[in-house]
Every structure is written in structure tokens, then in C-alpha cells.
């Protein structure tokens, strides 16, 4: 629970740790498929009910977790938590439902933005099967069995895998009580516990645009903060470029890219002197931190994705490291951008 008195809305998010069910080639995208089904709610009309009250449900599948979030006003928190309860309830779908939804995911994959495609390529290049993108493989999804999906969901949503985060202008104690009342009775089920990790090197070719990435260790390491600063500064050198990083306790990537195929990122990293960009990097980091720590949805996401991995993980470690990045750390981080993804 994070109280943000100046916030003008509340974000209620549930993060479901996927360590027990990471994407593998044989089940690639099951979590994404489940996200699609569960977001509809028990009667397929959850969105409809929320939108009628000016609320909005969003859902996302990352490598580490599945997230469902509801954006609402402080007076609507109870309904938002009930909506989260609704998406957690296991649904039994039919084989026909699976075929239709696998096709929609096929469309989703085909239409994904350049940044997303490029990021998937970079992850595969860096981590092989353990870096598989969370969108999934529609051919694998079409063969999924309803009962198999339902069992997976029941195991994944065992309480030890869940983190409920509420950020916004809310009173902490009564809201905590409300959350316990609405969600606190869930029973644990025996869960497969596979520790999430990422290893291995594979190769991939970008299909859209160009990018460069740096491998990072846990979000807690000072080197990760330095790579975030360097990544922001490198992105700043190319107009209309993008920057991606999702905090995680396991190894990951900081990636910068562009929809332009012709950008020679390696050349930029080699030829530019990082010292010339340290000052602007500090400003860019301040802005990045400001955005992550003032907008309720981002605050909840930053906390939720870490808490789902372990109740002891806190983003403050990363934020403090970001404030204290030194020039030598920054130089070192700059050089670590060496995973190039281009056609």
C-alpha cells in the first residue's frame, strides 16, 4: 500500500509471480493466453461493468509476472479490489475459446510495435529459451488443453505468488483491512517452485528497426543503476528512440532502440565520450525516477513486480543507487552496451 496524497487516481494491481511457470518452448505463451481469458471476468463482462463506472482494467504479461490493474477513484477502491478477485477466479474455457483467442494473439504478435519486437529479439539473443518473449507461440497455444490451463492458473495464483499493490490517495489502514476482507481468505495450493533465472546465449535477427542492449544483474546492483543512466543518455542521442527496462531480481536487459533500421548504435557507443553525457544522464535519471515515483500506476507496478518475486524486495534500493551513480560506474556501464540487434 503506498499513499500518494497528491495523486488524482488510485491504481489497484495484482502481480502474479511466474517463477513457477516460466515460458518454455513447449508451453510458450500459456501465461499470456491465461491473461487474455482471466481479464474477461467470470461472465465475460468485467470490462463493461468497470467502464460504466469510469474505471479501467488493464492487463500485461511480462517475463517475471502477470499483472492486472484497475484505475479508479479513491471511493471506488472496494469495487476495484472486487474486480481483482474476479480475475483471479479460475475459469474453465473450451477448446473453441482457445482457438479463437490463439488467433487473436496471432494478430497481436503480428501487429506488435517495433520496440516490442526488437526487445524480444534482444532477449532471445542474450538469454536463449529463458529469455523467451511473453507473447507466446500461437501454434503452441492452439494446442493447449482447457484443463491444463485451468490447473496452471490455480497453481500460479497460490497466495505466495501474489502481490496486491494499491497506490494513490488512499487511507492505508482501512484499505488494508478491505483488501484482507476481499482477498485474504485465499488458500495455498501445492505449487511447483522453480527458481526464475536466465542463462544461455542464442542468436536472433531484428525484424524491425535497430537496437542495442546491455545485460544487467539484479535491480539491486549498483551496476544496473549505472546501465539505466547510460541507456537513457544513449537514447537521448537519437531522435525518436526508446528506452526499456523492467526491474527484476534476476538478470535482464536495458535496451535502447529506434524504428529506424539505419542507426549504427555500436558506432554511437564507441565514438561518443560518455563523460560528455554524464550531466544530461543525471537529469534524465531524475525525470525517470520522478515518473516512476509519482504516477500511481507506475508506483504500483514498480512495487508489484518486485514484491511478486519476493516480499523482501523494495525498489528503494534501485532508486538510491540511481541517485549515486558515479562517473567511473557510468563509463563502465556505457561500454557494456554491446548486444546489437539489427537486420
Amino acid at each position: 500500500m503506498e499513499r500518494l496524497p497528491a495523486a488524482d487516481y488510485v491504481s489497484v494491481q495484482i502481480w502474479i509471480n511466474s517463477a513457477s511457470f516460466p515460458d518454455r518452448f513447449a508451453t510458450h505463451g500459456y501465461r499470456h493466453l491465461l491473461e487474455h481469458f482471466q481479464a474477461k471476468g467470470f461472465d465475460n463482462r468485467l470490462d463493461y461493468r468497470l467502464e460504466s463506472k469510469g474505471m479501467l482494467l488493464d492487463a500485461e504479461t511480462t517475463r517475471d509476472a502477470i499483472k492486472f490493474g484497475v484505475r479508479c477513484q479513491p471511493s471506488q477502491v472496494k469495487q476495484a479490489i472486487q474486480a481483482i478477485g474476479d480475475v483471479l477466479r479460475p475459469r474453465l474455457v473450451t477448446k473453441a475459446n482457445i482457438e479463437v483467442e490463439a488467433n487473436i494473439i496471432r494478430e497481436e504478435i503480428a501487429l506488435r510495435a517495433g520496440a516490442s519486437q526488437l526487445s524480444a529479439d534482444a532477449w532471445l539473443k542474450a538469454y536463449g529459451e529463458s529469455g523467451l518473449d511473453p507473447y507466446g507461440n500461437p501454434d503452441v497455444l492452439a494446442k493447449a488443453e482447457p484443463v491444463e490451463l485451468q490447473n496452471t492458473w490455480v497453481e500460479m495464483t497460490s497466495p505466495e505468488n501474489l502481490a496486491l499493490v494499491i497506490a494513490g490517495n488512499v487511507e492505508i489502514d482501512p484499505t488494508t483491512e478491505l483488501a484482507k476482507e476481499l482477498l485474504g481468505t485465499r488458500k495455498a495450493v501445492s505449487s511447483i517452485t522453480v527458481k526464475a533465472d536466465r542463462t544461455g546465449i542464442n542468436d536472433a535477427v531484428a525484424r524491425k528497426g535497430s537496437a542495442i542492449a546491455a545485460k544487467v544483474a539484479s535491480f539491486r546492483e549498483p551496476g544496473t543503476a549505472a546501465r539505466i543512466a547510460a541507456g537513457l543518455a544513449i537514447a537521448n542521442l537519437v531522435p525518436a528512440s526508446y528506452f526499456q527496462y523492467g526491474p527484476s531480481n534476476v538478470p535482464g536487459l536495458v535496451l535502447v532502440g529506434s524504428d529506424e533500421k539505419s542507426i549504427n548504435w555500436v558506432d554511437i557507443v564507441v565514438k561518443e565520450n560518455p563523460d560528455d553525457h554524464f550531466s544530461v544522464a543525471k537529469k534524465l535519471v531524475d525525470r525517470w525516477v520522478e515518473i516512476q515515483t509519482t504516477d500511481p500506476a507506475r508506483v504500483a507496478a514498480l512495487r508489484g513486480r518486485l514484491l511478486a518475486q519476493s516480499p523482501s524486495l523494495r525498489p528503494e534500493t534501485l532508486l538510491e543507487n540511481l541517485r549515486t551513480v558515479t562517473v567511473p560506474q557510468f563509463r563502465e556501464a556505457w561500454k557494456s552496451f554491446n548486444i546489437e540487434v539489427r537486420p
Partner: protein
């Protein structure tokens, strides 16, 4: 989320209009400028894109790096629409004066510091081809090389004080943005020398990759029909309870991406409904896309009207996003402090009145179910059905 309180509105002939508003955020000051466009032909539209690309590269008053430094790491964002140009500056809380000075440098007393003509060419090409919505509805581009005179002439034609509405949101009470701007305006030059070298800009735009089916409604001015058309647009295309989502995605399985927007035009707005698909078989016949929507409208009940009104409240009061109004060529408006300040400037430039959330939403509520269905049917039946992209 309600738009911030308007503290002052200064309108004077032959000067920019300045709107001052109380901030929603204590950390930043947002300076938003809307420049209403005169009628431009295709070559002038391209010349404006070249001028904007050069503005982003720095002005005689401020280099690109200085602008970024004064704006605390941010760069000015400049977007060209069919009916206006949006200039968006987000500065530190004490940076209103710097932001207005940058705005002045961009819109007058310029004289661009061009690093190279080749860079300008590349930036112009990139700018013209940029943006989700502009790619979808890109009008034809004049591929011939521009001259310096054309770019300079278009710049002078477009950036005129009387066509500018500026909103300053979030300045501390000790700062007086209207006076600051008026003191800068005293040095406004009727004509500026722009380019040191002649730009040579040839740009053609790649077509958008996937196939898209679009329903392009007729253009109209906001006026008395606006609220019903807006509610019908939301009922048809905004959110997962909308007709587009229910029909094109859930029932038919044709598309993952389906959305609506009101494209700004010189006459007013043009509602568009888009479904994007990677499967060419889905777009062999276009008429079924229209019929599917008409079928949905027939089945609407009071629940659908309630959902549309709830969603409208969500957009303008709860900040849930998915506004039909565009914030840039890439995205629709949000309720960020910058976008709120922009909406105030844009709505004033477009309609001559201040945008007030409650009054705006009460206008939507006056549309009953029968009127909603009739308006939606008109929108869909009268729309041009187009295939976009390959």
C-alpha cells in the same frame, strides 16, 4: 480528474492569447502553445514539416542542447496536425521564464542554426513518416525538392502571434506568465531570416505495413451536433465494452487492434474507426466491417449508453486514457499536466471557449438512447470505407 482552474485569460488583437492555470503538479510547469494553421497546400505542409525539423535542431536563440538543459533534460515536442501545430514544453517549477523564452525563440526571432542540410533532410523524412495516426491517414506527399524560400515563406505564414494560444500551467504565484510573454512579444519581428543554406528536402513515405480497415466519417464543426457525435464515437469505439471491440475482435476475431479518434481538420473534426489486421483474408471484403457495426448498434440498450457516459467520465475525470482527441501523431490525449494545458489552449483556439469538464460532460448526458443510436447509425452508414496500407 478535473481540469485545473483557469486563473487568467488574456486576449488582445494581434497578440498571442495567454491562459494561466493552477497546477495539478507541484514539480513542473507546463507551457503549451497551439498555433492555428492557415490553409496550406501539399508543398506548404511539407515545408512546415521541414521548418519544424529545423526548429527541433535549435534556434538562433537557443541550441538544442541549451533547450534540453533549460528544460531539465526534456526536449521541446512539436507536432504538426492538419489544423494546428502543438508546441509542448515541460520545465522545472521555476522554469516558466526559460520555457517562454524557448517558445519565443521557436516561433519568432529564429534563424535556425543548421548543422547540415543532410541532417535536415533526414529529420524531415522521419518527421513526415512518423506517428501512428498520421501514417494511417497520411495524405499524399509532394516528393519534389523544397526551396529555402518555400520553407521560409511557410514558416512566416504559420507562426503569427494572432494565431497562437498559450497555456502556462503550474507556475508559482510569484511568476506572471502573461507579462513575461508580453515582454518577449515586444521584440517580435515581422520577418525573420531563417536558413543559412538552402534546404533540399525530398521525402516519400513508406506505406504502413499491416492492412487496416477504416471508416472515415464526414467532417463537421463541434457546434450543437458535437456532443451526440462524441458520445456515439465512444459507444462505438472506446474501451473494451465498445461495439468495435465486441464485434470486430470478440465476435468476428478479425483484429487485435481496433480504435477510434477524432482527427482534427480545418473544418472541425473527422471521426475515424480503425481495425488493423495482419491477415489479408480479413480485408478481402470491406462492407462486412460496416454491417457488423450496424448490427451492434441495433442491439444497444440503455446499458450501452450508460457505459459510454461512464467511459466519458473515466476519460475526462478519472484519466483512464483513450480520449478520441489526439495528443500527437502517435497517441490520443491523456490527463497529464501537459495534455491538460494543451487541451485548454486547443479548445480555445478551436471553439473560442474555455474547456470546462463538468459542462462538457453534461452536454454528453443530454443525448438519450434513441438519439445515440440514430447518430451512431448515421456515422457508420455515411462513413467512407477504406483499406489502408498493404
Amino acid at each position: 480528474m478535473i481540469l485545473p482552474l483557469v486563473l487568467a485569460l488574456a486576449v488582445q488583437a494581434d497578440q498571442a492569447t495567454v491562459i494561466e492555470v493552477r497546477s495539478m503538479t507541484p514539480r513542473r510547469v507546463a507551457v503549451e502553445c497551439v498555433v492555428k494553421l492557415p490553409e496550406l497546400n501539399l508543398r506548404e505542409e511539407k515545408a512546415l514539416a521541414a521548418a519544424i525539423a529545423a526548429m527541433e535542431m535549435g534556434t538562433r536563440r537557443h541550441s538544442a542542447d541549451t533547450m534540453q538543459d533549460l528544460l531539465d533534460g526534456q526536449r521541446p515536442e512539436i507536432t504538426q496536425f492538419s489544423d494546428h501545430v502543438r508546441i509542448s514544453l515541460l520545465a522545472p517549477r521555476d522554469g516558466a521564464s526559460s520555457a517562454l523564452s524557448i517558445l519565443f525563440g521557436l516561433t519568432n526571432q529564429t534563424g535556425f542554426e543548421l548543422k547540415s542540410i543532410a541532417a535536415l533532410e533526414a529529420r524531415t523524412k522521419e518527421r513526415i513518416g512518423q506517428g501512428y495516426w498520421s501514417r494511417l491517414y497520411q495524405s499524399k506527399i509532394d516528393g519534389r525538392v523544397l526551396t529555402m524560400g518555400e520553407v521560409e515563406g511557410t514558416y512566416s505564414k504559420v507562426f503569427r502571434r494572432s494565431q497562437m494560444v498559450i497555456t502556462v500551467s503550474g507556475a508559482p504565484s510569484t511568476v506572471e506568465p502573461t507579462q513575461l510573454w508580453q515582454s518577449l512579444e515586444r521584440n517580435w519581428q515581422k520577418r525573420s531570416v531563417l536558413f543559412r543554406e538552402a534546404p533540399s528536402v525530398a521525402a516519400e513515405v513508406d506505406t504502413y505495413g499491416p492492412s487496416a480497415v477504416g471508416l472515415k466519417g464526414a467532417e463537421f464543426a463541434w457546434g450543437s451536433q458535437g456532443p451526440a457525435k462524441l458520445l456515439a464515437t465512444i459507444a462505438l469505439g472506446s474501451g473494451k465494452g465498445s461495439a468495435l471491440f465486441h464485434s470486430w475482435r470478440q465476435k468476428k476475431g478479425w483484429t487485435y487492434v481496433q480504435e477510434c479518434a477524432w482527427l482534427p481538420t480545418r473544418a472541425g473534426f473527422q471521426p475515424v474507426f480503425v481495425g488493423i489486421t495482419a491477415n489479408p483474408a480479413n480485408t478481402t471484403e470491406l462492407e462486412p466491417w460496416r454491417s457488423a457495426l450496424l448490427e451492434e448498434i441495433e442491439s444497444w440498450s440503455e446499458e450501452d449508453r450508460t457505459r459510454a457516459l461512464g467511459f466519458a467520465n473515466g476519460i475526462w475525470k478519472n484519466g483512464i486514457g483513450f480520449s478520441p482527441f489526439l495528443g500527437s501523431a502517435d497517441r490520443t490525449l491523456t490527463t497529464s499536466p501537459s495534455d491538460q494545458a494543451y487541451l485548454l489552449a486547443y479548445w480555445f483556439a478551436k471553439t473560442g471557449s474555455v474547456f470546462e469538464t463538468d459542462r462538457f460532460l453534461s452536454l454528453l448526458e443530454s443525448t438519450d438512447l434513441e438519439a445515440l443510436k440514430a447518430t451512431a447509425k448515421d456515422l457508420v452508414s455515411g462513413a467512407e470505407l477504406v483499406r489502408i496500407g498493404s
